[in-house]
């Protein structure tokens, strides 16, 4: 069969059958298990239990990673110095997701912020105090960690971030 006749016969078939036979190509991940090494996170989780925040500092480039990181990508070495961090930080960016509540079907506005802790060079994803009207969120907004009553050494020990009062007086220059 020449290429042209082959092509023509294809056209003929296509006219009769508008749909090609297809198989649903689903891919289930339930059989997979993922392996992570979290030894480098243990001191961080221990400190969380004591309501303290620590970051991991790379000796190559002095970048402070919060949450701690296994490898510094810039230098390709393991960061190995622990540094204390403050509880305060800034909103580095935010987004508001509009999700359907599975029970009521209502569209809920769920804000998520990227928090840049003072003293750290990385930002982590977190949520704001639910009482804060998210419409007031802005980039650079000062915030402070709100601790859970009974920390257990998990990521939820910092429940959410409280809004700090933007005390502009601090910034005023002293009068002569």
């Amino acid at each position: 069969m020449s290429k042209l006749t082959q092509r023509k016969s294809m056209d003929y078939i296509k006219k009769q059958y508008r749909e090609t036979r297809k198989m649903p190509g689903s891919w289930y991940l339930s059989n997979y298990k993922y392996k992570y090494n979290i030894t480098h996170l243990q001191p961080f989780l221990k400190k969380l239990k004591e309501k303290k925040l620590v970051g991991l500092k790379c000796s190559g480039c002095n970048t402070v990673y919060y949450p701690p990181r296994f490898v510094c990508g810039k230098c390709l070495v393991k960061p190995n110095r622990w540094v204390d961090l403050r509880e305060t930080g800034k909103v580095s960016t935010f987004a508001i997701a509009y999700l359907k509540d599975p029970e009521t079907g209502e569209i809920q506005e769920k804000p998520m912020v990227l928090v840049h802790h003072d003293g750290a060079d990385t930002a982590s994803i977190a949520q704001l105090n639910p009482e804060v009207d998210f419409k007031d969120t802005y980039i650079g907004m000062p915030i402070k960690a709100h601790w859970a009553e009974n920390p257990v050494g998990g990521l939820m020990d910092v429940e959410y971030y409280d809004l700090m009062k933007d005390d502009a007086k601090d910034l005023d220059l002293p009068e002569d």
Partner: protein, 415 residues
């Protein structure tokens, strides 16, 4: 040392949200046929090697090249598969370039094919799987399911782009109208491109702003569709290109620089990109490309640009980061019509990714359209003569970037 590479032809399949009349293999053969039709002197015997790729997670088919070999014409031919997420197409183009330029014995002409038939698989599952492992780690470390659910919604491409959009809007002090304007320009351009997906010749800014939010500040009307489609580009050497087409398009610079993973980070360790719209990777990519192509003033020397922008804020951001406009001036340029079809620097006249997004193929369609604009064969051809053009791609978690600089004259001879 490397050989000069030229693009002689590029072809597309028709794009739609559900191409149920074809399967992946037939979709690919559509693009290959369109590509070879534009270069009549080339037949399958002339093609020495293949470079291919797609996003396998979206189709539920691993390494489809294996069973599709015959549909591509790749039987008993060398084939290399490259996949890098959203930049897959761009990476495939770059792989095609390197296969020619490396000068392996017997390999002169290479067909690069990128494809995606998202309607076959479950796109949302595919997207969720990007961070599935990292999120399960977060869950193990004590994050509640409620939180994880939010992360998933914000962690997928749209969420990451929303973070980026907030940053960009903060920096440039623009409003949603400026974003909608980009969408309108793209969708109207798409109406004049035969293979595009979302063709809306009469779209207005009000209509875009009338749609609900999907993730603030992005609305449904601003977001790219999910398409089925394929794209094929034919690369060859400088000597052979002259016999294959009238105006060969020379590839003068390629690069694909990776930056740190944004938002979640590996092992869910946060993001070192405090400002996701900073895009150091894209800046380095363009720097390397321009250096290779000998372009010193991209703003003056580049006549046409195709950037990868599923979301309108990204289009504004990329044209600045790739050195086409000054920082924070892009919205103004869209307002003044500089970027329109008959403007000074037309951008995404095919409608861009914003109108057609067959994920694996999209980043190859960018250099393909740019090349056709230089040849004068594009379906929405710009009126002015295009000498130098760029095609750009973006992917991963804001961290991968590809770029290709093309021109109608070879520039690397002096090396």
């Amino acid at each position: 040392m490397g050989r000069q590479v030229a693009i002689v032809s590029a072809g597309f399949s028709e794009h739609a949200s559900k191409r149920s009349d074809v399967n992946i293999a037939e979709l690919v053969s559509e693009a290959v046929e369109d590509c070879l039709k534009k270069a009549p002197s080339v037949s399958f015997e002339d093609i020495d090697a293949f470079a291919t790729g797609n996003m396998p997670g979206f189709e539920g088919s691993n390494l489809p090249e294996l069973w599709m070999a015959d549909w591509m014409g790749a039987r008993n031919k060398p084939l290399m598969r490259v996949t890098t997420g959203g930049t897959t197409g761009g990476s495939v183009g770059i792989a095609g370039y390197y296969t020619v330029t490396a000068g392996l014995p017997g390999i002169d002409t290479v067909l690069a094919i990128a494809f995606e038939q998202q309607s076959q698989g479950d796109t949302s599952v595919g997207l969720a799987n990007v961070a599935y492992g990292e999120v399960s780690l977060l869950n193990y470390l004590g994050l509640t399911y409620d939180q994880v659910g939010r992360l998933l919604s914000a962690g997928a491409a749209i969420g990451v782009a929303a973070y980026q959009a907030t940053n960009y809007m903060h920096k440039t002090k623009i409003v949603e109208e400026d974003l909608a304007r980009v969408v309108v320009q793209n969708r109207r351009n798409a109406a004049k491109t035969w293979w595009a997906h979302l063709k809306m010749p009469n779209l207005t800014i009000e209509q875009v702003l009338d749609t609900p939010y999907i993730s603030f500040p992005l609305r449904y009307g601003m977001v790219c569709p999910a398409s089925d489609g394929a794209c094929a580009v034919l690369f060859t050497t400088e000597e052979k290109a002259k016999n294959m087409c009238d105006i060969p398009v020379y590839v003068n610079g390629v690069a694909s620089v990776a930056h740190e993973t944004a938002i979640l980070g590996y092992s869910a360790s946060g993001s070192a990109q405090i400002d996701p719209s900073e895009q150091l990777g894209a800046m380095k990519t363009s720097e390397i490309c321009y250096q290779q192509a000998g372009i010193s003033f991209p703003r003056k020397e580049i006549d046409y640009a195709e950037v990868y922008s599923p979301f309108p804020n990204q289009e504004l951001m990329w044209v600045e980061k790739l050195g086409l406009f000054e920082e924070t001036t892009a919205p103004e340029m869209y307002k003044n019509g500089v970027t329109a079809l008959n403007g000074e620097l037309p951008i995404c006249c095919s409608g861009g990714v914003n109108s057609t997004n067959a994920i694996g193929a999209s980043a190859l369609e960018r250099p393909a359209v740019a090349a056709l604009q230089i040849m004068g064969k594009a379906s929405n051809q710009v009126p002015k003569t295009v000498h130098t053009a760029i095609g750009h791609g973006w992917g991963g978690s804001l961290n991968l970037c590809t770029m290709m600089v093309m021109s109608d004259e070879p520039q690397r001879k002096w090396r």
